[in-house]
Symmetry: C2
Subunit: 491 residues, 2 copies
């Protein structure tokens, strides 16, 4: 059976990706610096092999024949997802793939020193090359997929999502978010917030982190916690590798970082074992993945009821201090302060950072804007959305993110889609199971059970819209997100 041949072929690909995921994790957590060159080459060879696996000559015939075979509905979806992965890997001419990868590496590498030097002029020619090749890639993908150029890139990260829908979504947000940010700032202006006083020894922070991961249901038989410069959730679903970094002066960051990554990790650990080596058994999309980390971090962990549970743990590990009082923790973890840097942004101003990037990357890819106009446009939108100017400060403006340096246009919307999906999930959960506060206090497993049933075990068996509608009874809808923000920050 051709379907069986495809399954074997894609399982093999998954095994190769497993080796890459573990060696990538090792590179970030364990590898001594001198091992980097050899590792980079080994992973490069693996990437070529994985790509070659998706370009196997036999695949077209297998796909054609498998389409005629009697498959269960789930096998049909699985076939569809294998075909999607295959199509994605074969859409671009090899020359363009190589040129893009080369230009991306070069630009990303230079960016690492140009950003701290605030050197936009030095960055521009490299970025123009990346943009140029990304536009070509978008054009080629658009032709094959019958989509607009930007949509054809978006499709890589959030299949089924379209620019038109994002325009509506972000257009709506633009109407209320900047106002909301100002209102929250007004409300918080006279709030007193105590910052916990350190030091917080790394070993204690790790012990606390492990305890909180256990409380959040992380399965240590299928995963572990380590340290890396840039925290991530990697590995494979049978062996999830989660990382964080510790600052001995600040316990709040690592703790929330661990909780965020634990959301990603539980999604991975909850994927259906029967499908976990095939495309259909993978996480649905970047946005859905982010919805799980943001569910854990925003809906759950910054909830006053959860912070009330964290308070005694903090005291047990670090001793009593006024800053650990539940009320203070709630104020601390919901502080809204618009700033320049996306990754440091609070829950309320974060979407503004994304709206801005979305508008710019869409226009860059569609050819409605040129690379050289970027700093000015960035500054203008930052002033509009967050009241901050980045003029002459590109380091903290349009040079701050890694994403565009290697051509990952179309990724940014995932972050805010994730926040919106998470709010919809929380609202649906409350309708079905009762108030989140009560669940957090008395029945965390019910929360995880709901996510397991509606999100995790569904993997890619439905498209994102279907998944969301089945789980929450609604198509994509920013209303629960808005209510959540108003309720948490203005009530």
């Amino acid at each position: 059976m051709s379907y069986t041949s495809l399954v074997e072929h894609f399982e093999q690909l998954h095994h190769l990706q497993h080796l890459g995921a573990i060696c990538g994790w090792d590179q970030a957590t364990m590898m001594p610096p001198g091992g980097n060159e050899a590792r980079a080459e080994a992973l490069g060879t693996l990437a070529v092999l994985c790509h070659r696996q998706l370009q196997d000559d036999r695949l077209p015939d297998w796909f054609a024949a498998a389409g005629e075979e009697a498959l269960t509905p789930e096998q049909g979806v699985s076939l569809h997802e294998m075909r999607r992965a295959w199509r994605d890997a074969n859409m671009l001419p090899a020359d363009l793939v190589r040129a893009r990868s080369l230009a991306g590496s070069r630009c990303e590498h230079a960016w690492r020193s140009l950003r701290p030097a605030n050197d936009w002029a030095g960055f521009l020619p490299l970025f123009e090359e990346v943009l140029n090749l990304s536009r070509q890639a978008a054009a080629a993908r658009a032709d094959t997929l019958g989509l607009s150029r930007y949509d054809s890139l978006l499709e890589q990260y959030e299949p089924g999502m379209r620019g038109a829908e994002l325009d509506r979504l972000f257009g709506g947000l633009r109407g209320w978010l900047p106002d909301l940010i100002r209102q929250v700032q007004d409300k918080q202006r006279h709030e007193q917030v105590l910052v916990p006083e350190g030091p917080f020894p790394t070993a204690q922070q790790k012990a606390l982190g492990l305890e909180v991961m256990t409380m959040l249901g992380f399965d240590f038989n299928h995963g572990r916690l380590d340290v890396s410069v840039h925290p991530f959730c990697g590995g494979v679903s049978e062996d999830v590798r989660l990382t964080t970094r510790y600052d001995e002066q600040d316990v709040t960051q690592a703790l929330m970082g661990i909780i965020h990554e634990t959301g990603h990790a539980r999604y991975e650990q909850g994927l259906p074992a029967a499908w976990c080596r095939l495309p259909v058994g993978q996480a649905r999309s970047m946005g859905v993945h982010e919805s799980q980390s943001l569910f854990f971090e925003m809906q759950l962990a910054r909830h006053p009821a959860f912070l009330a549970r964290l308070a005694p743990l903090l005291e047990r590990h670090f001793g009593t201090q006024p800053a650990f009082a539940p009320d203070n923790l709630a104020r601390l973890y919901t502080r809204v302060e618009p700033g320049f840097i996306r990754v440091d942004a609070d829950e309320v101003s974060y979407p503004a950072h994304i709206m801005l990037r979305y508008e710019i990357e869409r226009d860059l890819i569609e050819g409605r804007m040129e690379a050289r106009e970027l700093p000015e446009r960035w500054d203008q939108l930052m002033r509009q959305y967050l009241g901050l100017s980045t003029q002459g400060n590109d380091r903290d403006g349009c040079l701050q993110d890694i994403h565009w340096t290697d051509g990952s246009f179309g990724y940014f919307p995932s972050y805010t889609l994730g926040a919106i999906y998470a709010a919809q999930q929380a609202a649906a959960m409350e309708r079905q199971l009762g108030p989140l506060a009560r669940l957090i206090e008395a029945d965390l497993p019910a929360i995880f059970g709901w996510l397991q049933q509606h999100i995790w075990q569904e993997a890619s068996l439905q498209d994102t819209a279907g998944l969301l509608t089945a789980a929450t009874g609604q198509a994509l809808d920013p209303a629960p997100f808005r209510s959540h923000l108003e309720q948490r920050y203005l009530a």
Copy 2:
């Protein structure tokens, strides 16, 4: 150029092996238990890919054409070593490879419970199957290589070594070793040896281990130290992963284990960077590899001058106690006590364990002995060489090693060849650089420099005999080994 194509092809193979080495290390040191099944499958897929890389259809033509190309002498050796790797991977029919691997896994798996149960009868049929298939493999290899059956297996681990030479070598040892063991025992009978009293906390043992590794020149920019149940030296030469295990009641084992593995590690780290991704840039043989670990452990670390340097480190980490006196450490680390178990054996009785295994495996493979005769023959040789009977105690007799369970016949001689090579190297070094005692006291780098120049950087650029002769001025010669033992244990 075909030679260039071969280089690219074998470098690619090396990259795949790199991924396997790191994921294998991870499996033994970091992986949570629940990740094992997926890891085993991923590594299985990789093994198939590596094997396929060596069966590429283009290889025969490339080898033929490269033989006609103008190559430097070193490229010529490199070509020879690539051809050897290729020949080795293509010598056996695929059916036999599969059957052997299957029977080996089954036997090894069963052995893990049959050995503790002392169940020879349960082990025999599984072992007979492994032996049968290993004999077939030996016959096929012998045909291709024009060697005897046993020699064709030996060739995998110690290229160039022959059974006839081992017969001479072990025949000689048989003449003086059992006597030497008895003499040493007589001499040591009334010696007083103090055993260091614990506990020795793991963290302290690790700190001491790292300090000793540093003293031994281990490059932590290209390697690290971790914990595994079975200590090993893995990774790749650019990133050597060394492991140990700690017993909080006993500091002597882990410390010497770390030193032993550091010998393997420095060999790997000292391999020539220019060749390190090709067969010619790999360690010469199992025996030469073992010669480096045994040089570090036996020639160096158990030398009274080295133990005198260890004593203050032990005291610094664990406080003063009489057992840490240099004289006592020297007695402790040179104690000779013939026992049942090879891996626990001292330097003097160890070769007896190897001679016994060599005679048996040679006869098993050559068809001069059957599997069912193993326990009796084992018992007979143990009584002859070490004065101990294993009758009815196969758990501590012929069931003790993992090697034969998966058909690794021909490996055991490497251990004693390593000890003999190491003694030759030490003798040559003393002739050239002066007494080892003085070098240990005042100039460890000179020792490592000698090994770097004569062994490490030579990789596989010469055959073992050539390497040994160039380094020591002598062909294989057990005399320095005998002198070393007599000098250390009887003087």
